[in-house]
């Protein structure tokens, strides 16, 4: 049987502070750019690796390939003009931006949202979570060579995009949740067509489970790899599935329920190992929970009622001076909007708090030291980060 034991006696030893003194002149080290066009990277970012042999000594995250200056742009737009921009902050799960922005404006402007609209908003957020988890499952399997799972997940996500198109008129950027409510009711027969998508997804997920979680290759490459010490969670701002994989049963939907989550029945899944396998498993279980939640919402939601509250004349809409922070549980962790108004018709400041901001910068740079080059892609994808929300 093939066995490979590299001689690591010449490898650099870390000093008392745990860091290796890197001197490129010695010829022992190599700079390697991982990204921005690498299949193991979920978007436009890159990691500057310093490697010794196949071992990563240190890594620095570089962002800025996707900076569009949205936060500045929004300061020059009226409150209603901001609404088509916010969804573009995060491509794979745009609905959280729409919800957080709308809820922040509603809170500061004192606008009531009809009950029907809150149910449709919850449905939209769960559909978005479904898509985002599908991309995450496809990404992690793709990073480990299981390309076929990625194709199944992309296909299933596409079926959900059809439902989005039917409901909102758009596939990716829906612009459906706006201050005051949502744009429309569910179309007729939507429930039945959604059920077809969900049962198809369950069939594919059953196959994906066998191919991923029962595969010895997948287990070997993920178990014990990319471990995050739960003691680091608070220090590095780790939230969402990444924290739940380390045994922290925290979920904003459960802890401070928003929309109609207090009327829904769902479980917050946790794992203990805090490695790549555990993070993937938490996402896999959450995906099933999301499917169950979509069914539950469609069953429990009222069948009629207004979907839009009373908005003032949006062309002359001024919001009194104030500030607020609205958060929600996205597929990657706590997602929040900090909105400051100054009494004029324009926002003074909007700050987007995306979970990737902490996960892909400080945390990734901390975790990447000491890993192997071939594990970097899986580690990055397992943190489930989306660069657009880092640089906005």
């Amino acid at each position: 049987m093939f066995s490979f034991s590299p001689d690591r006696s010449q490898y650099p030893q870390p000093g008392p502070d745990g860091k290796v003194e890197v001197d490129l002149e010695t010829g022992k080290y190599l700079k390697l750019w991982h990204g921005p066009n690498h299949p193991g990277i979920t978007g436009n970012m890159s990691v500057e690796l310093t490697v010794c042999g196949d071992e990563v000594v240190e890594g620095k995250t570089h962002v800025g390939y996707l900076h569009r200056g949205f936060e500045k742009l929004m300061e020059r737009r009226t409150f209603i003009q901001v609404f088509p921009i916010v969804c573009r902050v995060c491509v794979p799960e745009p609905d959280f931006n729409e919800y957080c922005y709308a809820a922040a404006v509603e809170e500061l402007a004192g606008i009531e949202v009809p009950e029907m609209a809150t149910w449709i908003r919850t449905l939209i957020l769960e559909m978005g979570r479904f898509n985002s988890y599908m991309m995450a499952m496809g990404g992690i399997s793709g990073a480990l060579g299981l390309g076929v799972v990625g194709q199944w997940m992309t296909y299933t996500r596409d079926l959900m995009l059809d439902r989005f198109e039917e409901l909102t008129g758009a596939r990716i950027y829906h612009m459906f949740i706006l201050p005051g409510g949502v744009r429309a009711h569910l179309p007729e027969g939507f429930e039945g067509r959604m059920e077809e998508v969900l049962s198809t997804a369950e069939r594919y997920l059953a196959d994906a489970e066998k191919l991923m979680f029962h595969s010895s290759v997948f287990k070997t490459r993920t178990q014990g790899v990319g471990y995050i010490d739960p003691a680091l969670f608070e220090r590095y701002g780790v939230t969402g599935p990444n924290a739940r994989a380390g045994g922290v049963a925290k979920d904003v939907r459960k802890d401070s329920p928003y929309l109609v989550y207090d009327q829904l029945d769902f479980t917050v899944h946790t794992e203990e190992a805090s490695d790549i396998y555990a993070r993937t498993m938490v996402r896999f279980k959450d995906l099933h929970e999301t499917i169950q939640l979509i069914r539950q919402i469609l069953k429990k939601m009222p069948k009629e009622g207004p979907v839009m509250g009373n908005l003032p004349n949006v062309l002359h809409w001024k919001i009194p001076r104030g500030e607020t922070y609205i958060k929600g549980e996205s597929s990657r962790g706590e997602y929040g909007y900090y909105l400051v108004t100054d009494g004029t018709g324009y926002p003074r400041r909007i700050n987007v708090r995306g979970p990737s901001y902490t996960h892909a910068m400080a945390l990734l740079e901390h975790l990447i030291s000491g890993t192997n080059i071939s594990d970097v892609a899986a580690l990055m994808v397992s943190l489930h980060t989306y660069p657009p929300e880092i640089e906005r």
Partner: protein
């Protein structure tokens, strides 16, 4: 939350708190006391999670507002501490030793608002912008329109029309002005 602020107010100088919701409060603190307050809230009161650190430019008042938003995950409480800085001497105190993730926020604030945090790791390294020499772009006095007009050029062969007169010409060319 009220009880917590009441307990702390004997030792620290707080401004008038704004209770935005039951679980969210904004309060202004003195810059010199920020570190002590953050440490006490983190280590004693359970506010262990730094949700965000950002700035607001109040150019009319010649001040920057730094917002430190911290969260107690057990009690589900969020407290936002505001620190006002003089716009002319925009320097904050680094808290990367309390939360390592703060270094990223501070690096961004340095680049986008020009607020310095001496001692913060890699604070002078470029974060998002590359080779930027102009005014920090998130300051209110940075003119985005003037910058883009100076930096970029219109594509050759492309005409720019005044929307009002152009639409009048295109849509209602056969009608006298003002007719539908």
């Amino acid at each position: 939350m009220r009880e917590l602020l009441y307990r702390l107010k004997d030792r620290y100088h707080f401004g008038t708190p704004t209770f935005q919701r039951d679980d969210l409060c904004f309060v202004t603190v003195k810059r010199s006391e920020l570190r002590a307050i953050l440490t006490e809230l983190r280590d004693v009161e359970g506010f262990t999670h730094l949700t965000l650190l950002t700035a607001v430019d109040w150019i009319e008042e010649q001040q920057f507002q730094l917002t430190y938003m911290i969260n107690n995950r057990e009690a589900n409480l969020t407290l936002a501490l505001r620190v006002m800085l003089d716009r002319e001497d925009a320097t904050g105190d680094t808290i990367h030793d309390l939360w390592p993730t703060a270094a990223t926020y501070q690096r961004e604030l340095r680049e986008m608002f020009g607020i310095n945090f001496p001692g913060s790791p890699r604070v002078d390294e470029e974060f998002i912008l590359e080779g930027w020499t102009d005014l920090p772009p998130y300051r209110r006095d940075f003119d985005t329109l003037a910058y883009s007009q100076q930096t970029y050029h219109d594509r050759p062969g492309r005409e720019t029309h005044d929307p009002k007169t152009h639409m009048q010409k295109v849509l209602y060319a056969d009608y006298p002005k003002g007719a539908k």
